[in-house]
C-alpha cells in the first residue's frame, strides 16, 4: 500500500522514537535510574510500528513484558512512559505499574504484561467487545516466540476462531525466549502453522522491513474488519540486546550478535524511502534531531520528578483491612 509523505514521516518518527527511547532506557538503567528489570525493544521497531500504523486510538493492543515499543507505536506519551518506568509521580500508571505493566487505555494500549501468554486471552475479549458493539475496531495480541508455547495462547487462538472475533495475533519471533532459542522451544518450528491449524489465515513476515509488516497488517485488518474472524502474523525479527538490559548473553556468539545488528530496520527504512525519492535524508535527520530532544527532555524530567505520594499506596482498592 502506498503511504503519503506524512505517513512515512510518522512511521519513521515512531520507529526512531522507539530506538532513541530504548537506548536511553539502557543508559538510565545502567545509571541506576530505572528500578527492576528493563526488556527493551531494540531491533524490533519495524514490527510494532508496522502493526500499529493504521490503528486508531479505539483499536486495541495487548502487549508483553517487552512493551515500550508497542506503547510508542500506539502513540503513548514518552514523558509519561519515562516517568512510569522510573517509578515516578505523573507516570502513565502513577508509578504503580512500571516497565512490565505500563498501560494507557486512552490510547487503546491495554497494558504490557509480565505474564508470558497473559495478553492473548485478554485481547480476544477486547475483540469480542468490538464484535458485540459493532465498532469495526480490532484487537491485536502481541506475543513472542516463547509465548507461542503457552497454553493460554493456544486457547485464545482457538476461541478467537470459534467466536470469529476481530483479533490479530502478532507473534514477534525474535529467535529467543529469554536465553533459549526458538529453534529449540517451538516444536514443529512454525508459529504461523500453529495459527493456521486453529483455522485462521497466517503469514510469515519479514519484521526488519517496515513495509512488509505494514502490508501484511493491511491484509489482516481487511480480513478482520470484514468480519472474517482472526488473523495471525509471525513476524521474524532480531533482538539486538539480551533478554533484559544487562544480560551477559554467553549463549549467543559474537558473530550472531553482529548479524542481528546488521538487520537493522531503521537504516533499511531510510534506504528505501530515500532511494524511492519519497523522503529526503535531511527530512529524516530533522525527525531524528527533534526526537532526541524529546527523549532527552523526557529523561531529564523523569529523573528530576518526585516519587509517588505514599498516600497512593492504598488508592484504587475497594476494601481496606
Amino acid at each position: 500500500m502506498q503511504l503519503s509523505r506524512d505517513e512515512l514521516k510518522r512511521a519513521y518518527q515512531r520507529m526512531f522514537t522507539i530506538r532513541a527511547f530504548e537506548e536511553r532506557v539502557e543508559k538510565e538503567f545502567a545509571a541506576g535510574n530505572i528500578p527492576g528489570f528493563a526488556h527493551v525493544y531494540l531491533g524490533q521497531e519495524a514490527s510494532g510500528v508496522g502493526i500499529c500504523h493504521d490503528l486508531t486510538d479505539e483499536d486495541l493492543i495487548g502487549s508483553t513484558h517487552r512493551g515500550h515499543g508497542h506503547c510508542i507505536a500506539k502513540g503513548c506519551d514518552v514523558k509519561g512512559m519515562m516517568l512510569e518506568i522510573m517509578g515516578k509521580a505523573g507516570g502513565l500508571c502513577g508509578g504503580k505499574g512500571g516497565s512490565m505493566h505500563i498501560a494507557d487505555l486512552s490510547k487503546g494500549m491495554l497494558g504490557a504484561n509480565a505474564i508470558v501468554g497473559g495478553a492473548p486471552p485478554i485481547a480476544v475479549g477486547a475483540a469480542l467487545t468490538q464484535k458485540y458493539k459493532k465498532t469495526g475496531r480490532v484487537s491485536v495480541a502481541f506475543s513472542g516466540d516463547g509465548a507461542s508455547n503457552q497454553g493460554t495462547v493456544f486457547e485464545a487462538m482457538n476461541m478467537a476462531v470459534v467466536l470469529k472475533v476481530p483479533a490479530i495475533f502478532a507473534f514477534e519471533n525474535n529467535g529467543y525466549g529469554e536465553h533459549t532459542a526458538a529453534s529449540y522451544s517451538v516444536g514443529g518450528g512454525s508459529i504461523a502453522d500453529r495459527a493456521r491449524s486453529f483455522g485462521m489465515p497466517a503469514e510469515v513476515v519479514d519484521g526488519v522491513d517496515f513495509f512488509a509488516v505494514h502490508d501484511a497488517m493491511g491484509r489482516a485488518l481487511e480480513h478482520c474488519r470484514a468480519g472474517n474472524g482472526p488473523y495471525a502474523l509471525e513476524i521474524r525479527c532480531y533482538r539486538f540486546l539480551g533478554h533484559f538490559v544487562g544480560d551477559p548473553q554467553a549463549y549467543r556468539t559474537a558473530d550472531e550478535l553482529k548479524e542481528a545488528r546488521a538487520n537493522d530496520p531503521l537504516p533499511l527504512f531510510r534506504k528505501k524511502v530515500t532511494e524511492a525519492k519519497l523522503l529526503e535524508a535531511a527530512e529524516l535527520d530533522a525527525i531524528e534531531k527533534a526526537i532526541l530532544a524529546e527523549v532527552e527532555d523526557a529523561a531529564q524530567t523523569a529523573i528530576a520528578a518526585p516519587p509517588p505520594d505514599l498516600k497512593s499506596l492504598e488508592k484504587d482498592v475497594y476494601a481496606r483491612y
Binding site: G95, K96, G117, T152, H179, Y184, R252
Partner: protein
Amino acid sequence: MAKKSYRTAINDALRSEMRRNPDIIILGEDVAGGQGATGDVGVVGSVFGVLGGLYKEFGPTRVIDTPISESAIVGAAAGAALTGLRPVAEIMFVDFVGVCFDQIYNQAAKFRYMFGGKAKTPMIIRATIGAGFRAGAQHSQSMHPLFTMVPGLKVVMPSNAYDAKGLMIEALRGDDPVIYLEAKTLYDTEVEVPDEAYRIPFGEARVAREGKDITLVAFGPMVPRALAVAEAVGKDGISAEVIDPRTTSPLDEDTILESVEKTGRLVLVDESPPRCSLASDVAAIVADKGFKSLKAPIKSVTCPHTPVPFAPVLEDEYMPNPRRIEAAVRAVMKFD
C-alpha cells in the same frame, strides 16, 4: 565451617542429592539456558543462578530446559513423580503459578489421598517469592498462604542458607509434593553451612532468637527483618523471641504455643496481604489453643490489601518494614 550463600546452599543440596539418586531430574525454563542457541549451553542455570553448573555435571537428560509452558512443566513433573522419577520443577517467579495451579492443587496434591494411599508423588516445585526487587505487581508476590491451605502439599519457606540446604534435602528424600519457596532477596545472604548432607525435618520450627517478653513469628524473608527489630528493641530492654516456622505446612504449632506461654505476647510478621494470611492463620491458632497465655491482643504486620506497587517508595512501604514491625512490638508491649 565455611559460609555459604542461600543460593549456593540450595545448589549444594540439589547437586549432592542428584549424585546420590539418579531419579532426580530438574525441569523448567532456562534451568540450563542456551538450548538451540549459537553460544554455550548451560550458562544460565536458572535466572537467579541457583542451578549453576548442574547442567554441566548432569547433562540435558537430567537438567531439562522446557518451553514456556508452566502447566505442562508442573503437570509433567506430577506425572513423572507418579511413575517413578523425582522431578524438581521450577516456576521462575511464584506469580506464574496462576498459569498452572490446576496441576498443583487438583492433580499433584491429591494423588496420594484420592488414590487411596496407593500413589506417591515425590516432586518439588521451586519458586521465587517476595517483593523488594522492584519487579512490580506480577513478579513480586509470595502466595504461600495459597499453597498452605491445600491439603496434600508441603510448604517450605527457608529464611537462611543453613535451613535452605537441610530443607531441600528433606524435600528430595520425601514422597510428597513440596512447594519450596525461595526468597529472592535472600539469595546473597550467607551463614555457615556444612559441606555434608543433613536433613531438617518439616514441621519443626527454629527458635531464631530467645527472649522472654514477646514472641515474634515471621515467615521466610521476614525472619531477618524480625530479628533486626528484636535486636533494636532489645536496647530498650524488651526481650523478644523470634520463631521461624520454616515450613508453613506442616506447621509446628507446639513451638509457637510454648513460646507464647512464656512471653504472653505475640506479633506476626508475614509478607502477604492481611486476609487469609499466615499471620491471620497463626493468630487464630494461638487465640484458640493459647488463649490463656495471652496478656495482650495479637498484632500482625502484613502488606496492605493491594497488589505490589512498582515505585520503590511505595514498595518499601508495602512490605512489612522495620518501622511497622517495631511499632507493632511496642504497641503490644504497652498493652496492660
